[in-house]
Amino acid sequence: MNAYFNNIKNGIQTVFEGMSISLASFFVHPITIQYPEDDISSAEKLKETYKGQLGPMPENYRGILDVDLSICTACQLCVKACPIDCIVIDAVKCDKSKVQGTKSEKPAVKTRTCTRFDIHMGKCMFCALCTLACPTGAIVHTKVFEMNKYQLQDLVLSFVSEEEKEKAIKRDSELKVEAAAEKAAKAAKEAEKTEEEK
């Protein structure tokens, strides 16, 4: 009989103890951001509303990918690193130049340029293996995460425009002609040399 009443007493007591904790939540600042209504791009404004409980997004946040083609050497390491093959690169030869990457102090040598650099963000799983593999730091994750599109093919990001592509192909064919001419000149010179030796 005693145990029976103890049980009831315990039940009521512990329930009210839990209730007191729930009630205390009324007096703390909200922690859930009302996302579409609140502008989350400015961390300062959010801190005001939520009384300093929120930090800004971390610098290394893994949002959608971005490519800086001016320092990309078209080495295709990101393509090899990607486990689901969502990056496609076509490359042609270009004028030899040195580019300064963001990862190391030593400049990298660029001999090829992209005519196509497509990333299918619909397939991408944001694992960052491509950014880790990139020797120059050309491919990076941005802090953008809002990327809804109406069409699936809109999720394919193309970083090389048609004009740039045509330009690169044109320059490539010019370089091919130049290389062929150089080769021919060299061959002619060698032939002269052998004749002279004779």
Partner: protein, 373 residues
């Protein structure tokens, strides 16, 4: 009249879409009124063929897929796989990287147990604790986001170390969180653990004796809940766990019988406290230095096989790898804790109420994607 009335058993489906099955699992239940006569768990709804995918991606490229095996404890899954490949290659992981791995792994263990406890509470009809615990988990997510940039599928561990170094001021932030968190755990105790209604729902339900637990190959907190003191971190120490000081909590039958739902629940709560202890030690001891051992770009482990066991939040997770010296595994097998927890359900569910089956599933902490891979 003495003749017995024979009633017909009704076969009903619990799941695949059921709020208390923790993902897409189906239970075919034969009931006699409110009492379960026979329960047949039907798994495989979330099978994604991850083991087969391993055969077509590179060794490093498989790490993000291990995130998807157990989405609540991705760090630990990364760890187990990376450790297996490192053992095959014979790579020494730098000490700082080992410490970072333990910190990230234990943080993830806390967050995983928070969900396990919260979901078990929610299955019992208590929504408030779930929300309160998810709020704490949010802080951990923020911390893990700080070190790797992702909140759920981290891909933080690499073969031979970790991908990024700890950011500045990380240890101060974690220390601040731990101070706040210990208070929150106490609050949670007052909210649910000592609640009489909760105790009545969990205590004496589906008790698993130590012998039965070992017969059914229980692992992790479920095994320890039955009073068997076995933890891979202690009994087969890997990484730096032999240098750390922590206890292995086991079920003590504090309110019911040994190995009941309440014991399994309480072991998880105690494990959270131990993880906090480990985190404090690691943050004090962490040395400076390299975070990544030198590993070739194209990893090609020698021909052979390796089985590695680690203690993840859901128990003893094993990765068996068979390499034929190529750039991708020849065969990979993942052994997870949820699956062994699932195999005992037909036995436990006999002659209990349907509402108690929900308690059993909640206390076993089953995660559907880990079950099916």
């Amino acid at each position: 009249m003495t003749s017995e009335l024979k009633t017909e058993h009704i076969t009903i489906n619990m799941g695949p879409q059921h709020p208390s099955t923790h993902g897409v699992i189906r239970f075919v239940i034969k009931t006699d009124g409110e009492i379960i006569h026979e329960c047949d768990p039907d798994v495989g709804y979330l099978h994604r063929g991850i083991e087969k995918i391993a055969e077509s991606v590179t060794w490093q490229g498989f790490v993000p897929f291990t995130d998807r095996v157990d989405y609540l404890a991705s760090m630990n899954a990364n760890w187990a796989y990376c450790m297996a490949v490192e053992e095959m290659l014979g790579t020494e992981v730098p000490e700082r990287a080992e410490y970072i791995r333990v910190i990230a792994g234990e943080l993830n263990r806390i967050s995983s147990h928070l969900v396990a406890i919260g979901a078990a509470d929610m299955d019992m009809g208590a929504i408030t604790p779930f929300v309160q615990l998810l709020r704490e988990r949010e802080y951990i997510n923020d911390l893990l986001e700080m070190i790797c940039g992702a909140r759920l599928t981290y891909n933080y561990y690499s073969i031979g170390g970790v991908n990024y170094d700890l950011p500045e001021g990380f240890s101060i932030k974690v220390m601040g969180f731990l101070d706040h968190f210990e208070v929150a755990v106490e609050q949670m105790h007052r909210l649910v653990t000592y609640n009489q209604i909760f105790i009545n729902r969990f205590a004496n339900v589906a008790a698993v004796s130590p012998e039965m637990a070992m017969d059914y190959n229980f692992v992790g907190p479920n095994l320890r809940g039955s009073g068997v003191k076995y933890d891979v971190r202690r009994n087969k120490p890997y990484s730096i766990y032999d240098k750390l000081d922590f206890e292995i909590p086991i079920g003590t039958a504090s309110v019911g019988t040994l190995g009941d739902c309440y014991d399994r629940y309480f072991v998880r709560v105690e494990e959270i406290r131990e993880s906090v202890k480990i985190l404090r030690q690691c943050l004090q001891q962490i040395p400076e230095g390299e975070i990544q051992a030198k590993v070739k770009n194209a990893i090609k482990p020698p021909v052979g096989h390796k089985y590695i066991r680690t203690e993840t939040p859901r128990g003893d997770t094993g990765y068996f790898i068979y390499s034929d010296g190529k750039t991708s595994p020849s065969r990979l097998k993942i052994r997870t804790g949820s699956f062994t927890g699932m195999s005992i359900i037909p036995e436990l569910a006999r002659n209990i109420f349907i509402a108690d089956l929900v308690a059993v599933i909640g206390s076993l902490d089953i995660v559907a994607p880990e079950l099916d891979r």
